[in-house]
């Protein structure tokens, strides 16, 4: 294989991985703080893509969609946390899994009803359409935008977690929730904020992915499994873990397809099984319960 094709594939893998971080970030932060496994997270990503689709159709402007759709999904996330997740605190983490599984199902069906079963796509904004040529390599400009946009989002999340008070509380909450509560911080309010934050990130991922991949009602289900794998590899509850896990998965997927086509995906699950068995807390996670 030519090196140009290889570089193209690696760029693809990094792009997929970067977008996946945005989805996995919410999943892992929500788990880290609340021990809630949010099965509906993929559906929020899908909802972001569909709202982006409609907003582009109404306004004809991609940037408005990117700005408006995520807060709308954030509101949905708020409602889910407030009326579905919150009543179940104290009933054990498995109940949240059962519940969010149902919520995700309902969101998927609502999408079917509102937007229909057909596959849609959004045209990338005019400035970002076209192909960048660099020697032998030619690469769609929009994909490069997605790569850099997601990467800068990831850096921003990292700064938020490391440098802000909000991030400090989240990290402390992941470490010892009760102590944070005892120090006089309203943990349940922080829970809601983290949940909304995660929902917004998933929606951002949904909107930026829409012009690159197709928008369809099964996309939430497809992505949630990948996001879970990324989070498991990195360690549930760890943001750096999610970053490493998502990038590794993105690269493994494209490179696996190149070298061992038909069993590539099945092989990934063997890796997941081995990690869960030997180091259930993942590569970066703290050992928990």
């Amino acid at each position: 294989m030519s090196s140009a094709a290889l570089i193209t594939q690696i760029l693809n893998g990094l792009t997929i991985g970067m977008v996946l971080i945005l989805i996995a970030a919410g999943l892992t932060l929500i788990f880290g703080m609340m021990e809630v496994v949010n099965f509906a997270h993929g559906s929020l990503y899908m909802l972001g893509a569909y709202l982006g689709l409609s907003l582009v159709a109404w306004t004809g402007n991609f940037w408005i969609a990117l700005l408006v759709a995520p807060p709308l999904v954030g509101i949905v996330g708020f409602l889910i946390e407030r009326f579905n997740i919150r009543p179940l605190y104290g009933r054990g983490p498995l109940y949240h899994l059962l519940l969010t599984f149902g919520v995700g199902l309902v969101i998927r069906e609502v999408v079917y009803v509102l937007w229909g079963p057909s596959v849609h796509s959004i045209a990338p904004p005019a400035i970002l359409s076209g192909v960048l040529k660099l020697g032998e390599i030619s690469y769609p400009i929009y994909r490069l935008f997605v790569l850099f946009f997601s990467a800068s989002m990831v850096v921003m999340i990292w700064l938020l977690l490391r440098r802000s008070n909000f991030g400090l509380i989240i990290r402390a909450g992941t470490y010892d929730r009760e102590m944070v509560d005892a120090l006089g911080i309203d943990v349940s309010r922080i829970f809601t904020m983290v949940f909304v934050f995660g929902s917004v990130l998933a929606a951002v991922a949904g909107v930026v992915v829409a012009p690159m991949r197709s928008v369809h009602p099964e996309m939430g289900i497809e992505v949630i499994i990948d996001a879970f794998i990324a989070v498991i590899i990195g360690g549930m509850g760890s943001f750096p873990g999610a970053v490493v896990g998502a990038l590794a998965l993105g690269l493994a997927e494209v490179l696996g397809i190149l070298f061992i086509p038909s069993f590539a995906k099945a092989a990934i699950y063997i890796v997941v099984v081995i990690i869960l068995l030997t180091r259930p807390a993942g590569l970066f996670g703290e050992e928990m319960g």
């Binding site: 788990f31 021990e35 496994v37 579905n84 009543p87 179940l88 009933r91 983490p93 498995l94 109940y95 899994l97 059962l98 519940l99 599984f101 149902g102 919520v103 199902l105 309902v106 998927r108 069906e109 609502v110 079917y112 009803v113 289900i221 499994i225 879970f228 794998i229 498991i232 549930m236 038909s262 069993f263 995906k265 099945a266 699950y269 063997i270 997941v272 099984v273 869960l276 068995l277 259930p280 319960g289």
Partner: protein, 310 residues
């Protein structure tokens, strides 16, 4: 005790005479629906021992159902015409795989266990999907021949209905025996407080493995019956959304009650058919009902009924 027997006998009598009402009262279509409910009921009984009585939620039991179905399909297509041989081989293989999966996944706890069962199921899903020469890939396997038993044609819907009903009743009494046995009590102890059960001196992991293998056995049996009945199998049986249906049915009907999950399966399949004739997106209603039950009635429909009786 008397009353309890009556409660058990009434549905059994109902199930026994159901096909006789066809085609006068019920169209054969409903016998077909009822057969599917019975088949899934067998899997759900076993699943309840794991999820309801031991407190281990598996997100991958579709893999055992699928393995049973594919084994029967491959055997009937290529090797044998004997339903017994096919069923026994399918159940034996599934139970063995269940033991391997249990051996590996029982080491983990809580959410990691759930994700591990899911990963195993996805692995099988993709393996079946990609091993086209054996499994037919995404097309699945069709044209699985029907068999006959003591010169009874199992291809007929009514006779297969009774064939399945016998298995369901036997499974129900077997599961009830298990639940009421010392083994069942230990499983419940593990569900209520794992540390304490371990402190008393029980080998918790071994008991959890047993529960897992038992549930795998019943899922495999149900899948094997399904493969013969549908004469078509597809990789969707391994997909986690099918495994997820086990969860929805179990919690809708009433987890940890044996009857509940079977009832939940019946409601989901029957209502699904009823609503789907009105609207294609029937799952939206089932999803909302399921969410309401998880939120407000942890013991599902059975819990509601029990509450209103008291």
């Amino acid at each position: 005790m008397r009353r309890e027997h009556l409660i058990e006998m009434a549905p059994l009598a109902f199930l026994a005479i159901l096909p006789l009402t066809s085609p006068v009262l019920l169209s054969p279509f409903y016998i077909d629906l009822a057969t599917k409910i019975l088949i899934l009921g067998i899997a759900l009984l076993g699943y309840d021992i794991l999820a309801g009585y031991t407190g281990l939620v598996s997100f991958g039991h579709g893999m055992f159902f699928g393995l049973g179905a594919y084994t029967v399909a491959l055997l009937l297509l290529n090797f044998t015409q004997s339903i017994w041989l096919a069923l026994m081989a399918a159940v034996a293989l599934t139970t063995f795989i269940a033991f391997v999966v249990a051996f590996l996944s029982i080491r983990t706890r809580g959410i990691y266990f759930v994700l591990l069962t899911m990963a195993f199921a996805q692995f099988f899903y993709l393996a079946v999907y990609n091993w086209v020469s054996l499994t037919g890939g995404s097309n699945g396997l069709g044209g699985i021949p029907k068999t006959s038993l003591f010169s009874v044609d199992l291809g007929s819907v009514t006779s297969f209905y009774y064939f399945t009903l016998i298995f369901l009743v036997a499974s129900y009494y077997l599961c009830k025996r298990i639940v009421n046995s010392p083994l069942g009590k230990v499983l419940e102890a593990i569900r209520e407080n794992e540390e304490r059960a371990e402190f008393i001196g029980y080998d918790v992991k071994r008991f959890k493995r047993r529960a897992f293998v038992i549930s795998g056995f019943f899922s495999g049996l149900a899948g094997a019956l399904f493969g013969h009945y549908q004469s078509y199998v597809s990789p969707d049986l391994f997909h986690w959304s099918f495994s997820g249906q086990f969860i929805i049915m179990t919690w809708l009907g009433g987890v940890g009650t044996l009857v509940g999950p079977v009832l939940g399966g019946a409601v989901l399949i029957y209502l699904g058919d009823l609503i789907s004739s009105l609207t294609e997106r029937w799952l939206i209603f089932m999803g909302i009902i399921y969410v309401i039950f998880v939120l407000f009635s942890p013991k599902g429909i059975v819990g509601l009924v029990r509450c209103s009786w008291r």
